[in-house]
């Protein structure tokens, strides 16, 4: 095992010396042909023989107590195999590595809480039977209206401790230029297109689950804990995952319920959550109420900044949306107050959705910066420049790499940002009001412990193995590129095996840490292989030259197949966070630039063009990295304009729990998006030098759209999304 925890900065020589030149290229995804032909198999597919279908029964009310469950009518339906309830292992919600939910409880936490499973010969029968199960309940005092609940100002949940530096109140009182605004964002659903699904089967006391999950190593342990069996009796498989966006980081109740059902009926069982049930059984991003305060001198230099929010969680939830996470290191200012308060509600759990914190926190802070710029009469880019910190303004730590100023400069140049931004509401083309806006983008960078195994096979090809997932992020391809770069192989000579918890433990996909962590483990494993190849070449590792399957040293050139000599060379690599990770403040950075047109008659907003420049450390694959960023930008557009989960405060139901009513972006909403990278390899981040990409694109994207809408119309909306009704009253006369 070649292990490098990040106690010191790291720059593997093998990557610098490589002649292959394949890492970073915008290669096509290696699993592409499988995806475009439908051959790629997801959790509900590749079904074992004798499969039975399950459907989950949820509570019909959102608070109170369960008195009894009558399953007779369901059991009597032809084709029903079993109706299961009252099993002590049945979870009331999602499990994850930090916390397990309540099990077999009669307490109702929210509407649609799972209470029974129906297993049948066919999907239609299971669904029909589930509707026949009668759940008797006793009413409780409901808390469905988040705005009507008491606020806990010292919540004991969440991972982000409050920050209170200096005296913000005093600075606000003493400073000439101040801004104090409140912004709100609604419930957001992760809404991966692949349903949350699990196929489960037992062979003796061993359980296998094919499950739609981002972190299957963690899932394996969590499932074992929930079922009270040994983790080595559980195998989790996820060769393809149809999107996760945070919703598939934990283990959904359906995975545990499928395992229980498979054990009870003695057959493989599969469950896919119907779309409308997904909103109740999968966590969402909490609504947020954000108060942003900024105190600045007359030149716009920030002296104090506050970002204080209220978010919601149910009684079983441990997650607290870390709203100010991205604000912490964003701008200078000595007085700083960042905290997030809590209201407890009887609603489905809130949890981590793509870029927890930054995705919504940037709506507050980046719109506030736009408002401050206008108040001061300073260009919004110039205002940000003046507030670029030299070190982390909360911790005082040095930044590992930070190219934010370059993102502003290059973005402004490429976008054609004018020397003087037109006055709000002043540019009109026929019935369209046209405006521009920008916002900064920041997402904290993490390195997580990860292992990988690399085998140099007898035929000179390589195989990379780890329990990472590829949730659309490009993992298959970047791991092949990394191994190809280190070993001098084209990616067509590298096989990548992922999505099997029997393989070496990786970080999984979440928090944008998957790529940097997993690729680093591959680099380290390859270093060991290079050491062995050097021995066989009778040369030092640094004298090896590898290209297209040939190794050269000291004037001698040998094919890898000849050098391997029949027995594969197998090596393990491992990386993880260390002292260097703690010594430095690490984040990916960027800047978004947007042009919108708002219809003066209808209030409809069309994003005409959008461009961003991003600092993400080493770019591992230019094509897939660009796609991840543009995907995030599109989320930002939809967060700004249409995504809004609405709670019926009378019942605790979601009014719009499906794609018909919860409006994710469609093709016609998204123009051609332009992405540029500033590539500075971050040797403090991880051995491969890559920072997170997957969540960066959404950070700040929606705020840039909202700022452009303000510039187009002169109407400042602080209650997101910016829908037509909120603009119409303020629009200039037609």
């Amino acid at each position: 095992m070649n292990e490098h925890v990040m106690d010191v900065a790291c720059r593997p020589a093998g990557l610098d010396r490589s002649k292959q030149g394949v890492l970073g290229l915008g290669l096509d995804r290696i699993e592409g042909p499988a995806k475009v032909t439908g051959v790629a198999d997801y959790a509900y597919e590749a079904t074992p023989d004798g499969i039975a279908y399950a459907a989950i029964v949820g509570t019909p009310v959102g608070s109170g107590r369960i008195l009894g469950i009558d399953v007779r009518a369901a059991e009597a339906l032809p084709g029903v195999i079993a109706v299961i309830q009252g099993d002590p292992r049945m979870p009331a919600g999602e499990s994850n590595s930090r916390a397990l939910p309540k099990f077999d409880t009669d307490v109702i936490l929210h509407l649609g809480q799972p209470v029974a499973i129906v297993v049948a010969e066919d999907q239609a029968i299971a669904r029909d039977a589930a509707a026949l199960v009668v759940v008797r309940t006793e009413a409780g005092e409901d808390r469905f209206d988040v705005e009507a609940q008491p606020v806990d100002t010292k919540p004991e949940i969440g991972f982000l401790p409050p920050v209170d530096k200096g005296d913000l109140d005093a600075v606000m009182a003493d400073t000439a230029v101040t801004l104090d605004r409140t912004y709100t964002t609604p419930v957001h659903f992760p809404a991966a297109l692949e349903p949350h699904a699990t196929t489960a089967w037992w062979e003796g006391d061993r359980l296998t689950v094919r499950t739609s999950n981002q972190v299957i190593g963690g899932a394996r342990k969590t499932i074992a804990k929930a079922l009270k069996i040994d983790a080595d009796k559980v195998r989790a498989l996820a060769p393809y995952v149809g999107g996760g966006f945070g919703g598939k980081t934990g283990v959904g109740a359906e995975a545990i319920l499928a395992a229980i059902a498979a054990e009870v009926v003695g057959r493989p069982v599969k469950i896919a959550l119907p779309r409308r049930q997904t909103a109740y059984m999968v966590h969402h991003r909490s609504h947020t109420i954000q108060r942003v305060r900024i105190a600045a001198d007359e030149h716009g230099v920030i002296l104090g900044m506050g970002h204080e929010s209220v978010v919601a969680q149910n009684d079983d939830g441990e997650f607290l949306e870390p709203v100010p996470f991205g604000t912490l290191p964003l701008y200078r200012g000595d007085a700083r107050r960042f905290k997030t308060d809590l209201v407890r509600v009887d609603l489905p759990a809130s949890g981590a959705v793509r870029a927890p914190g930054e995705a919504v926190g940037t709506f507050g802070v980046e719109c506030a910066m736009d408002e401050l710029a206008e108040q001061l009469g300073i260009d919004p880019i110039e205002l940000r420049r003046r507030n670029e910190p030299e070190t982390d303004p909360v911790s005082g730590k040095p930044f590992s790499t930070r190219r934010m100023l370059d993102c502003y400069t290059q973005g402004a140049e490429r976008f054609g940002w004018p020397a003087s931004v037109p006055a709000p509401g002043s540019v009109r083309e026929g019935e369209w009001l046209v405006g521009i806006g920008m916002a900064a983008s920041l997402r904290g960078n993490f390195t997580v412990e990860a292992q990988a195994r690399v085998r140099l096979e007898a035929d000179g090809r390589a195989t990379v193995e780890c329990d990472m997932t590829d949730i659309g992020t490009g993992t298959y391809t970047i791991l092949a590129q990394t191994a190809g770069e280190m070993l001098g192989l084209p990616v067509s000579d590298v096989t990548v095996r992922l999505g099997d918890s029997d393989l070496p433990a990786s970080a999984g996909s979440g928090g944008s840490f998957g790529a940097g962590s997993a690729c680093s483990a591959v680099v380290l494993a390859c270093e060991d292989i290079l050491g062995e190849l050097a021995l066989r070449m009778n040369a030092a590792p640094e004298d090896l030259s590898l290209h297209d399957g040939c190794v050269s040293a000291g004037g001698r050139s040998v094919t890898l197949a000849d050098l391997v000599r029949g027995e594969p060379i197998v090596a393990m690599g491992k990386t993880g966070p260390g002292a260097e990770s703690k010594r430095t403040s690490q984040a990916s950075h960027g800047a978004h630039f947007v042009e919108v047109a708002v219809n003066a008659v209808t209030g409809e907003t069309r994003v005409r063009r959008m461009l961003g420049v991003f600092d993400v450390g080493r770019v591992l694959n230019r094509k897939t990295a660009t796609s991840q960023i543009t995907g995030g930008m599109a989320w930002g557009i939809a967060y700004a304009l249409s995504e809004e989960g609405i709670v019926d405060t009378r019942t605790g139901a979601f009014v719009n729990p499906d794609f018909g009513e919860y409006h994710v972006a469609v093709n016609a909403d998204i123009p051609q998006l332009e992405v540029h990278f500033i590539e500075e390899i971050d040797t403090s981040a991880n051995p491969v030098g890559a920072k997170g990409v997957g969540e960066l694109g959404i950070s700040g994207a929606g705020a840039a759209v909202a700022n452009a809408i303000y510039n187009a119309t002169g109407v400042r909306v602080r209650d997101f999304p910016v829908t037509l009704d909120k603009l119409l009253a303020g629009l200039p006369a037609v």
């Binding site: 499988a34 597919e45 149809g242 796609s627 794609f659 051609q672």
Partner: protein, 187 residues
Amino acid sequence: MHFTINGQSYDAEPDIRTSVLDLCREHLGLTGSKKGCDHGQCGACTVLINGRRVNSCLTLAVMHQDDEITTIEGIGQPGNLHALQDAFVRHDGYQCGYCTPGQICSAVGMLDEVKKGWASHASGDLTDPKFDDAEISERMSGNLCRCAAYPNIVDAIREVGGAEPAGRTADEKDAAMEANARGELVA
């Protein structure tokens, strides 16, 4: 019941409530067509029935015993990709891949609709619609992609369908990105 799918004959006895989608996925082992919502809201299940694109979750199998059904498995296979499948790979017109079979079936049907001169909401002239990016985006808006690969999906379809690009072409974008990489790499 008897079905013709991708030119092959299949016999099956599904529950009468079974959709074409569930027939394919759960009875015939054709899992290329995806179920995203089962409500006709996402388009992941799009197949061609007698050449027209259809949300296969919204139509019952029993209604289609005399029809020609084409699923993604019939469009092209690994090693024998349809031009659109190849273009989706090169333009990265997907990420997680779950909506992709539906996107591609939809694009095949859509290009045929354009060829026949059918107008869309985006058509300026209903009797002679142009084929441009706005038309592609409008006509593909029944197929959701949560990863939001939309710009690349448009690039792929434009290339195969021969539409005029809006703004920069994909090649120009690639060239700009490569120049960006050369100029800004801090080694």
